[in-house]
């Protein structure tokens, strides 16, 4: 392969265009947030340099640790709900059959709506007084958005929205597994369960990793639906890190401290990125 070298100006120019754009719109703001975390700012008056004071405060902030716990709890719930279901559905839809195709068609619809719309719809549906629950007497006493159940409810609604996406990933991956593998296994006397456990699952491992990564990252940073449905409430029951950030910066007028939470989120995400992308080899599996 003719290698472009550092002296290949044309290539460098072509490459620098997207890099600069990306740097300006993504990297610069990330650095900016980090910088803001060293200031005290209420959003309207002048900024005031306070060094590491915000970070010190973060370490002792019970609300922050609570938001961190909520973030992880929500992520865990989302993963536990979505992965088995998407895996099962993906395999189911991968096979031929009229019923399966029709079901696959309809099962995809939730993904077409924005998180805002999904949140609003479910808010109406789940209203204990005027929604569906009220009109089904055995379910009337349920309060989906109570302090104890709000987080699970949100995880369920989120899953409703995104399971179609992960189903798709698993479906495509499953369809890529050569038939012969299964035929050979059945010839050897293996049952369906064995086939699943020893052929399907291992071969789907990369997809599981990719899907899980997307779920984890998406859940840690999920904002839209949570804000529309509960604004982090009741109390702080559904206040994850992004919600905490928003409340700090835009409600309490504590922009500098909000930026600190934001910078923390960025660092957390970078760490996860490094862990999963570096390990899973999505980047350079077949690097020549």
């Amino acid at each position: 392969m003719l290698r472009g070298t550092m002296r290949d100006r044309g290539l460098l120019f072509l490459y620098s265009l997207p890099l600069f754009f990306y740097g300006f719109t993504v990297l610069l703001p990330i650095l900016g947030t980090l910088l803001l975390s060293f200031y005290r700012w209420d959003g309207i008056s002048n900024r005031e340099w306070i060094g590491l004071a915000n970070w010190g405060r973060l370490l002792g902030d019970e609300h922050f640790f609570h938001a961190l716990r909520i973030s992880f709890a929500f992520t865990l719930a989302a993963w536990v709900i979505q992965t088995p279901l998407a895996l099962g559905l993906g395999i189911y839809f991968a096979r031929r059959g009229f019923f399966r195709q029709v079901a696959a068609f309809f099962a995809f619809l939730p993904l077409l709506f924005s998180s805002t719309a999904v949140g609003i719809i479910w808010l109406y549906i789940l209203d204990p007084n005027l929604g569906i629950l009220y009109y089904i007497p055995p379910l009337r006493s349920l309060n989906p958005l109570s302090e104890s159940s709000a987080l699970v409810t949100l995880a369920l609604v989120t899953s409703w929205q995104f399971i179609p996406f992960h189903t798709l990933l698993y479906q495509a991956a499953y369809q890529g597994i050569p038939h012969e593998l299964y035929e050979a296994a059945y010839l050897d006397g293996a049952g369906e369960w064995d086939a699943f456990w020893h052929i399907t699952l291992p071969l789907l491992r990369p997809t599981i990793i990719t899907s899980s990564f997307i779920i984890v990252v998406g859940s840690l940073t999920y904002f839209d639906l949570i804000w529309v449905m509960t604004q982090g409430g009741p109390g702080y029951a559904t206040t994850n890190l992004p919600v905490y950030l928003y409340r700090l910066a835009f409600q309490s007028q504590n922009v500098g401290y909000g930026a600190t939470v934001g910078a923390f989120l960025a660092l957390l995400a970078l760490g996860l990125s490094w862990l999963l992308i570096g390990r899973s080899g999505v980047l350079g599996r077949r690097w020549s």
């Binding site: 290698r3 472009g4 070298t5 490459y15 265009l17 890099l19 754009f21 990306y22 740097g23 719109t25 993504v26 610069l28 703001p29 650095l31 900016g32 947030t33 803001l36 099962g88 559905l89 399966r100 079901a103 068609f105 309809f106 099962a107 619809l109 077409l112 709506f113 924005s114 998180s115 805002t116 719309a117 609003i120 719809i121 479910w122 549906i125 569906i132 409703w160 798709l168 990933l169 495509a172 049952g191 369906e192 369960w193 990719t210 997307i214 990252v217 840690l220 940073t221 839209d224 992004p242 950030l245 928003y246 930026a259 934001g262 910078a263 995400a269 970078l270 990125s273 992308i277 980047l283």
Partner: protein
């Protein structure tokens, strides 16, 4: 024992899937049916029943409140983001694949790192940045960060895709004296059309449904996009649930229509290169 489990699964699976279908579809049915009711009708139980009087008044109310304008804004934003992100990412991926040397590798890692960084981590600084550049409260303020954040995934997908192109093809063109531009236009573009369309579609959908950036970086109704409009509707028409449902339907309509007619393309788009 294992056979029992397998047979049980075989019987229960269709039932379960049927149940899942119902769960998936019911809210959407609910939206559709409610949007065709009058407000008085909505308060009559049961909420999932058919309207006693079918009406399109909610749709006209929504359309009359400037909905078309928000729709146009969303189209503008999503299309621009789709095109820009794909174009820029293709250039970046090309650079990465054509030259594995230092600078380019570092660049690739930078793109990859942005994969997981959340929009919220940057939104405050973006707000300050956008203000100082004078772009506050314009569609440009939304388009720029949305494009930027769409790039990591797109660059990774394109890189993986371009790596599949046999190096010999590049060499052949280079020997004939073709410059990078020519190679891009005559070799890369035609070969990666599928991936390009897929990612354009993927980023279009993402930009269409984005809320956070418009929420923070814009304010006037002129530059309002659909997710904001839908939410604003709950304030304006809050108690008028049928009207809100009409707004939701209208804002999802393009995607739904696209899905019905171009299902395969959309599915390919979402599978992208992530598998």
């Amino acid at each position: 024992m294992k056979e029992a489990v397998a047979s049980a699964t075989r019987i229960l699976a269709p039932l379960f899937v049927l149940g899942w279908m119902a769960v998936s579809v019911f809210p959407i049915y609910y939206i559709a049916v409610t949007s065709l009711k009058t407000q008085a009708d909505y308060l009559k139980p049961p909420p999932w029943g058919f309207p006693t009087r079918w009406t399109l008044e909610n749709y006209s109310a929504v359309l009359e409140s400037g909905f078309l304008h928000y729709f146009f804004n969303s189209v503008l934003v999503a299309t621009t983001v789709a095109i820009a992100s794909v174009a820029l990412s293709l250039l970046a991926a090309y650079g990465v694949v054509r030259s594995p040397s230092g600078v380019f590798r570092v660049g690739l890692y930078l793109f990859a790192l942005g994969f997981a960084v959340p929009a919220q981590a940057t939104v405050i600084a973006l707000y300050a940045l956008v203000r100082s550049v004078g772009l506050y409260d314009t569609l440009g303020a939304i388009i720029l960060p949305l494009t930027g954040f769409a790039m990591p995934v797109t660059v990774i997908v394109f890189s993986n895709f371009l790596r599949e192109i046999p190096p010999a093809l590049f060499e052949a063109m280079a020997i004939e004296g073709a410059g990078h531009w020519t190679i891009l236009r005559h070799l890369v573009l035609p070969l990666s059309l599928r991936a390009i369309l897929s990612m354009a579609l993927f980023n279009f959908i993402g930009a269409w449904n984005a809320l956070l950036f418009p929420l923070i970086l814009t304010e006037s109704p002129e530059v309002r996009v659909l997710p904001m409009a839908v939410w604003a509707f709950t304030g304006q028409f809050g108690i008028n649930v049928p009207a809100v449902m009409a707004a939701v339907t209208l804002s999802a309509l393009p995607l739904i229509i696209a899905y019905v007619f171009a299902r395969r393309e959309i599915l390919n788009a979402l599978r992208g290169g992530l598998v």
